[in-house]
Amino acid sequence: MVRVPGMFVLIVGAGRVGSAIAKGMLSEGHEVSVLDEDPEAIALLERGQDSGWEDMGGQFTVGTALEIDALLAAGIDRADAFVASTDGDNTNLIIAQIAKKRFDIEKVVVRVLDPLRAAWYREQGLHTVCPTQVAIEMLEAAVREEVA
């Protein structure tokens, strides 16, 4: 794995996926900022940790993903990498494009549950990751294995 030392990573949406990525990136020594509309979401970031998220050096901002003020407060203007992992496909697709087109962030990754939207936006040049599609392929492969 290639390590980019000192990357500033902004993660929008701290559910199961976003918080796991955030913890991973922070433990690898990156600077990590998390934006979530739910003030309680910080609990997921601190689960299984000995100290608080901010004590460990993480940043946490409460705000709506689409609000430019919230994105700025979370540091979008200085982010090297951007992860859109809220529970809304459309929100993720829109904020990822804002990150890319307005703030010129090079590394932008978007979680999209709907395979159709994920595929079309991938064709448009967005780096979409579709867990549904991955699950479909894995399950299909597993079924074939069982049958064989």
Partner: protein
């Protein structure tokens, strides 16, 4: 014209009714089942049930042959996405988006979801019209060009009252383009005189408002 409207709330439903009355062919997409049932009573087969940001729902509604797509759901991210795929994936030439939060308007610009209509923004402008700042009414803003056209009433005792246009000495970046007197407007010439009680239309670069206001709408204290 074939129009697809996404979002069957008050805006979408009323819009659909008006467009149908005007003779347009139309499909309305509504994602909430209860709302769908209500709207379907009135619009019948013209209403589709489903999430209008799902591509297959849009395709089922015939987006590929739509001449116009209007996204008026209560979520800006949905309206943005719908307009973007309508234009870029399905080649719909005309899209109109509702922008619920005027702070999101730059996002609509960025992603080509234009024109975006913000009711909040419109009401704010109306308030500005009704309760004008410095007695100045904004008639047209061209933010990209950093120009605006404003209307002011010339108050008695203002520096411009009773002065010929050529002697107004407006700052660079401001131009008097029309005078409205007794409800009749005309394009002034250099020798036209500005009178107290006139309404004047001034085109100006943004930032000159205060200076323009001083010339027309503030009386000079007579010593």
């Amino acid at each position: 014209m074939y129009v697809v409207v996404v979002g069957g709330g008050k805006v979408g439903w009323n819009l659909a009714r008006e467009l149908i009355d005007k003779g347009h062919e139309l499909t309305l997409i509504e994602a909430n089942q209860r709302r769908y049932a209500t709207v379907e009573d009135a619009l019948e087969h013209r209403v589709h049930y489903g999430d209008g940001s799902e591509l297959w729902v849009l395709e089922r509604a015939g987006i590929e042959r739509a001449e116009m797509v209007i996204a008026v759901t209560g979520d800006d991210e949905d309206n943005l996405l719908i307009c973007q795929v309508a234009r870029e994936k399905y080649g719909v030439e005309r899209v109109i988006a509702r922008c619920n939060n005027p702070r999101n308007l730059p996002h609509f610009d960025l992603l080509g979801a234009k024109p975006a209509v913000s009711a909040t923004d419109l009401i704010l402008r109306l308030i500005e019209h009704e309760v004008p700042q410095y007695g100045m009414i904004h008639l047209l803003d061209l933010p990209e060009q950093e120009l605006e056209i404003v209307e002011l009433e010339v108050v008695p005792g203002a520096p411009a009252a009773g002065i010929e246009v050529r002697q107004l000495g407006l700052p660079d970046g401001a131009l008097l383009i029309s005078i409205v007197r007794e409800n009749r407007g005309f394009v002034p010439r250099a020798d036209s005189t500005v009178e107290a009680g006139d309404k004047v239309l001034v085109m100006l670069e943004m930032g000159l408002e205060e200076e323009i206001n001083k010339r027309f709408a503030e009386a000079v204290a007579v010593g």
